[in-house]
Each structure stands twice: as structure tokens, then as C-alpha cells.
Amino acid sequence: MEINLTRDTKTMIARISGRVDTIAASAFQRTLEEALDCRPDRIIVNMEDMAYISSAGLRSVLIVCRKAQACRTTLVCCCMNQIVRKIFDVSGFSRLVKIVDTLDEAESIVI
């Protein structure tokens, strides 16, 4: 798994590529927590290249999500492939996290 962080004035974009499995989950969680420490208004998690997310990865998403709520940062996931989208849907995470189809859509969300 690789995470590529980019940032403009108020938005931070984390582009995840590869598999977020048990081993990668802690790095994934730590990176996003550190990104949250920078207090951006919005974090967009671009999952375009994310192949798979395990239950440990989901747990990291849950923890980051809770922290984002505490920081009043909007967390948006976008560009999920079908496998990941299904995992999010089945697990009920679709209702927990804001999910949009494209990056433009994610960026156009009014904070």
C-alpha cells in the first residue's frame, strides 16, 4: 500500500493505492491521523487505486472517521472500485462515511 498526500489551501487529498490489509492498516490509520493533526477543513480519500480493504482497514477508517468528527473535518471518500464499494456497502460503512463517485464531486462539496 502507498499513500500520496497532497494539500491545497483547505483540502487535503490522500490517494491510496494497493491493498489496505491488516499489515497496511496501521500505516494507513497513522498517515490519516497525522493529516488530521494539520487541521484541514476537508480530507478527501481518493480510493481510485485501492484494490481491497480488509476488516482491519475498515476499523482504521472507523477510527479516522471518529477523529474527523471530533476535529470537525469533513471526511469524503471517492472513486471506489466495485469491490471496495461493495465492502463499504455490506459493512454499513457507506452510511458512516460520505462517499461520492468522482474527485470533482468530492471537491465541490460545500463545507
Partner: protein, 661 residues
């Protein structure tokens, strides 16, 4: 942890050690420098010595030649005086003989002398008159030369000065019948004025003889303490003085040179013949010793006085110096080797003791004192580094020992925890004892000692059986703790009095309470009515189980009917149901099955799972489970198990088919 000492190979160096190397290189370097210095000094000192020796040798020969010339001149002077006396005096035979005897007696160098008159010029009645006095072995001897045996008118000493009218030194000759020795003769004409108008006429010849034997002896004596070998050659090159009597008067130096074939000596002979003085290599001829020859011309006669100077004697001083220098150099080198050996030893000694100390460390002795740590040089630095390494190793090993003990403690606790976890799950035998209408098989294989998966199986009443399978997020101890909570919550809430969806919502709210660590669980709960075959289930984010028809056709049992538990405040959970055919199997499993990896990072996946269980019609539950495990093993190969694998299979076997309708 450590191999014992006997196993360990001591580090050994091969070839020469530093000590020997340093000594050898020092020897080589200084040896070359010293040899070059000695050679250089030898070369230049030789050149200087030769030029000095040349001057000195020529000077010696020159002074001897001049000294000798003085003697010749005194002979000449005596002869001149005799001639004057005769020319200007009135002499009778007796007084003339007295005069002649006194001249020979008084001049030490004169061997003999004569006054030889022209025919009938002393006495008109006597044709030849030539009284000759000489120093014979038995005293003064008078010989009358004008005899038929000794016709002096034909002798060179007489004819040449008579012809030229000038004094003359003869060549060496043996005066047979006169002096009877080898000699050279100085001859001077006696003049008489005929008349004032007619000039002078020659009245006779006055001579003085020089003994060549004496000459040879004198020259040899003169050079005895100088070179030991001196000789003299005449203008023609004939040896007139030589320690080698065989050469005297018989040989010329040119002839000797030509016979010797020695190029150095040939050059010398040529130089003696043509040059006034010189200093040349004699090529080992004459004396038989490798020598230089210095020669100088005697002014009066033009003869060459030659002396040989032995090279070894000439260069004795410089050779001696060279020898001493060589000895000093050799001694110096030995000293240098000794010093470099000691210096090298002062490094290699501590190094070897460090090697021993390191060997001890290698054998596991971490308490031994590393030597030389107080030295303030590179060896000290090395020793300190070893010392630090030894202390670090000791610390590290202590930590490791503690960590190992800690690990063992945790392992033993985990092993107990694993036992507890296993005992929490219902033990299921495939036949369930008395029940003929149901087959159950369960398997849980945690990825670590304890796992986050669970399954459950219990009868709610006589005809209803509840099966549950769950997967807590994560693995290991945290997941196991959460799993045990979830399992008991499910068991406590699911009952025949309560709808399944409500029960799961209750479980969710209970899990959400104090869930600081954000754990969650996917869960599938199903209730099978053994009379009707109706299977009611709720699926909270769990993998859909497979339903296998008696013919062996497998298909997933619908989608999820609710979100995972432990995340959302108010999850929407609903129930679904399906009708099972007799002999149908419900196979529930966790994602440890479908998400097992092989070495190419491929997932086992739903399709492979379906393929694995679809093969046999009317299979037993244990057959299905073992078939899945077998396929997993083939698929994963040597790849380690990354997630807990749990399966629970139930086969519906009603007693009478009639009951189903």
C-alpha cells in the same frame, strides 16, 4: 546462543604477520637506499682518488727521475772536468793514469772511465792508447783497451761522439773485454786546437761508465718502499733497469706488449714510447698484480723511469672506507630491523591480545576485561570499540533474555487463553448424539494463538436450532476479547421469544457502549426450523453463507440484511428466509477462507470456494469442511495463514419427507 569454544575456529592470519612484513619492508627500503649511497660514494671517491693518485704517482716518479738525472749529470760533469783537464794540461802517462784513477775513485756513480786517444795521437809510436780504470769486485783495476781483442775505434761509444763532435750517452751494452758488465757510457770528444786558423780537431774520447746492475739496484731500492716494482727503459724501449733480470737488455717494452696481447699494456707501451710522462693501467703485466704505471722522462738521456702502483694499495684507503661503511650499513640495518620488529611487536602484541579477548567474547564470555582500552592511539580506539561492543552485547543479551522470558510468559498465557477460547465454543460432534435430523460440523483455526472469529450453535427449542458465525475486526488478543463478549451477547439475546433483527440491534447497542477501541463485528445468525426446513437469518455485514443443494450445487445465500455491528448508533437490520430442501447444507464461513492468499497474492475468493464444495452430491458436512480446507491448502501452498479461518456447516436431514409439506 553461542556456539561453544571447541566449535569455533580461532581467527588466524595466513602468510607473514605485520611484524615480519614491517621488518622486511624496512630492510628492503633501507637496503636499497644504502646500497645506492655506497655505490654512488664508491664511484665518485674512486674518480677523485684516481686523479689524486695519478698526480701523486707521477710526482713520485718525477722526483725519482730528477734525482737520477742529477746523478747522471754529476757523471757528465766529472767527465767534462776530466776532458778539460786533459785538453788544457800537459800530461805524461803516469800522471794521466793517476788523474783517471782519482776520477773513478771519487765519483761514486762512475763504474769505470777511460781516455781513448786517436791513433798515434798520445804517443806517435803507439797506435792505440786507452787506459781504463774500473771498480772491479776486488778493487780498482786498470785495463788497457787498445788490444786486438778490444778494438775501441769501432765501438759505438767512440765512433758516435767522434762523428758528431758532441757528448753522447750510449745505449746499454755489455762491455766485454773492458768493464765486463752491462753499462751505459757517457762519451765526450777531446779537442785539440791544430792552429789558430784551422780550428779544432778531435784528439780522443773521454768516457765514464755507469753500471746498469748498480742502476737497476738503485732504482729498485729507491722504489722499494714506494711500490716494489720500478723499471727503466731506454729511448728504444729496451729495459735498462728492472727487478726481472730476464728482461734486461734482451727485451723492449713494445715487444713485451705485443707478445702479451693485453690492450691496456699495449697502450701503456705506446705511451711510454711517445709521451714525456703519464699514468696508465698496466693491465697486470710485469708485476703480476693489477696495477697502474706512472712514468717520467729522465731529461739527460730521454730514458723513461716507470713505477708500478698496485691498485689494491692505491685504493686500500678507499676500499677500507667502503668496507667500514658497508659494515656500518649492515649493522645499521640489523639495528633497524630490530627496532622495526620491536615497533611492530608493540602493535601486534596488543592486537593479538585483542584477538584473544575477542575470541573470549565469541565464546560467550562477556565479563572478561578487554585489554588496552586506556591506550591513546588507534589500538586503544579499537580496544574501546571492542569494550563497548562487549558491553552492548551484554546489555542486548540481558534484554533479550528478559524479552524471551516475557515472551514465554505471554505465550503460556496465550496458550491458556486459546484453551479458554476453544472451550467457549460449543463442542460439536457430526451426529449430535440422538439427533438424526441434523448434521453439524465446525472448525476454527485462528491465525495466531487466539482469534477474533467465533461460531455458535444451540437449540432454541426442540425444533429450532440457532447457528451463528462472527468475525471481529482485527486479530489476536483484542479481537478475542471482543469476540467473547459478542458471542455471549448473541447467545443471551437471540431467543424464540424475540425477533432476530431486534436481538441483533440489541447486540449492536450493547457493543457500542464503551467501545473506545472502535472494534466491530460482522455476524450471521440463522434459525433453522427442523420440522419445516424454513431457514430464517440475519446477516450483519458478514460473508453470505453458501447453500448447497443435495445435488451438490452451491449458491450464496442472499446479500447482507444489515450493517456490521458496533459502528452505527441505529443500524437497520432485517431478516430474510429461505426454504431448505432435505439434504441441503448451509455452509457459513468467515473471510479467512475467501481472503486467503497464495504466493502470487491472489485471493482464494468465492468462486474457488463454490468450486471446492460443488463437486460431490449429497456430501456430509465434515466432507464439505475438509474439502474446503484441502482446497485452501493446495491453493495457499507454503504461504502463512494471515486471518482466522472459521467454518460452520449444517445439514438439514428431516426424518420424513412428508413433514415438509
Amino acid at each position: 546462543m553461542f556456539r561453544n569454544g571447541s566449535d569455533m575456529k580461532s581467527p588466524k592470519y595466513f602468510g607473514f604477520g605485520i611484524t615480519i612484513k614491517l621488518a622486511l619492508w624496512t630492510l628492503l627500503g633501507t637496503g636499497l637506499i644504502l646500497a645506492a649511497t655506497l655505490k654512488y660514494s664508491d664511484f665518485f671517491s674512486s674518480a677523485i682518488i684516481i686523479s689524486l693518485v695519478e698526480k701523486g704517482a707521477i710526482n713520485i716518479v718525477k722526483s725519482a727521475a730528477l734525482q737520477f738525472d742529477d746523478r747522471l749529470q754529476s757523471v757528465e760533469t766529472s767527465t767534462e772536468n776530466l776532458a778539460y783537464a786533459i785538453e788544457f794540461g800537459k800530461w805524461n802517462e803516469v800522471s794521466l793514469l793517476d788523474l783517471l784513477e782519482s776520477v773513478v775513485k771519487e765519483n761514486d756513480d762512475i763504474y769505470g772511465a777511460t781516455i781513448a786517444f786517436e791513433p798515434y795521437s798520445f804517443n806517435s809510436e803507439i797506435r792505440s792508447f786507452a787506459p781504463y780504470y774500473c771498480k772491479a769486485a776486488d778493487g780498482m783495476k786498470l785495463v788497457q783497451l787498445g788490444t786486438p781483442d778490444y778494438d775501441y775505434f769501432n765501438k759505438d761509444w767512440y765512433t758516435i761522439p767522434k762523428k758528431t763532435g758532441k757528448p753522447h750517452w750510449s745505449s746499454p751494452y755489455f762491455d766485454e773485454g773492458g768493464g765486463d758488465i752491462r753499462m751505459v757510457t757517457y762519451s765526450r770528444p777531446l779537442f785539440r786546437r791544430k792552429s789558430p786558423s784551422r780550428g779544432m780537431e778531435i784528439k780522443g774520447i773521454v768516457t765514464a761508465d755507469l753500471s746498469l746492475e748498480r742502476l737497476s739496484f738503485d732504482i729498485t731500492e729507491m722504489f722499494r718502499n714506494v711500490t716494489g716494482y720500478a723499471f727503466m727503459v731506454s729511448n728504444e724501449g729496451t729495459f735498462v733497469a728492472s727487478p726481472d733480470a730476464g728482461l734486461l737488455f734482451r727485451d723492449t717494452i713494445q715487444g713485451l706488449a705485443a707478445r702479451s696481447g693485453n690492450s691496456s699494456f699495449e697502450k701503456l707501451a705506446a705511451a711510454i714510447n711517445t709521451e714525456a710522462s703519464g699514468f696508465l693501467d698496466a693491465g697486470g703485466i710485469l708485476s703480476g698484480i693489477d696495477s697502474y704505471c706512472a712514468f717520467f722522462t729522465i731529461p739527460s738521456t730521454g730514458w723513461k723511469l716507470c713505477a708500478l702502483f698496485s691498485k689494491s694499495e692505491l685504493f686500500m684507503a678507499s676500499d677500507d672506507l667502503q668496507d667500514k661503511l658497508t659494515i656500518i650499513a649492515v649493522l645499521g640495518m640489523i639495528l633497524l630491523i630490530a627496532v622495526s620488529y620491536l615497533v611492530a611487536l608493540s602493535f601486534t602484541g596488543p592486537l593479538m591480545s585483542l584477538v584473544k579477548a575477542t575470541e573470549r567474547i565469541g565464546e560467550g564470555d562477556l565479563d572478561s576485561q578487554v585489554p588496552w582500552t586506556t591506550r591513546r592511539d588507534e589500538i586503544g580506539a579499537l580496544a574501546s570499540a571492542f569494550d563497548i561492543m562487549q558491553k552492548s552485547l551484554k546489555d542486548y543479551i540481558e534484554k533479550l533474555t528478559r524479552a524471551t522470558m516475557e515472551k514465554e510468559r505471554i505465550e503460556s498465557e496465550l496458550s491458556i487463553a486459546a484453551d479458554i477460547q476453544r472451550s467457549m465454543l460449543p463442542a460439536i460432534s457430526p451426529t449430535l448424539g440422538e439427533r438424526k435430523d441434523l448434521e453439524v460440523c465446525a472448525l476454527m483455526q485462528p491465525a495466531r494463538e487466539v482469534g477474533g472469529d467465533f461460531y455458535d450453535f444451540f437449540f432454541m427449542d426442540q425444533d429450532s436450532v440457532c447457528i451463528a458465525i462472527g468475525d471481529v475486526s482485527g486479530k489476536g488478543v483484542p479481537a478475542a476479547l471482543f469476540m467473547s463478549v459478542t458471542k455471549y451477547l448473541v447467545e443471551a439475546t437471540v431467543s424464540s421469544e424475540q425477533k432476530l433483527d431486534i436481538a441483533l440491534q440489541q447486540v449492536n447497542s450493547l457493543l457500542l457502549k464503551n467501545n473506545e477501541s472502535c472494534m466491530f463485528v460482522t455476524i450471521f445468525v440463522g434459525i433453522l426450523n427442523l420440522k419445516t426446513g424454513l431457514f430464517t437469518y440475519a446477516n450483519c455485514g458478514h460473508n453470505p453463507p453458501l447453500a448447497l443443494s443435495p445435488a451438490g450445487i452451491a449458491k450464496p445465500l442472499g446479500e447482507a440484511t444489515g450493517p456490521i455491528l458496533g459502528v452505527l448508533e441505529k443500524p437497520q437490520v432485517w431478516t430474510d428466509s429461505c426454504q431448505l430442501e432435505p439434504g441441503a447444507i448451509i455452509l457459513t464461513f468467515t473471510d479467512g477462507v475467501t481472503e486467503a492468499f497464495n504466493s502470487r497474492d491472489e485471493l482464494f475468493g468465492d468462486d474457488r470456494l463454490i468450486q471446492a464444495v460443488s463437486l460431490t452430491p449429497d456430501a456430509s458436512v465434515s466432507g464439505v469442511v475438509s474439502q474446503v480446507m484441502k482446497s485452501l491448502k493446495v491453493f495457499c501452498g507454503d504461504c502463512p495463514q494471515t486471518d482466522d479461518i472459521t467454518m460452520l456447516a449444517v445439514k438439514f436431514k428431516p426424518k420424513q419427507k412428508a413433514q415438509l409439506t
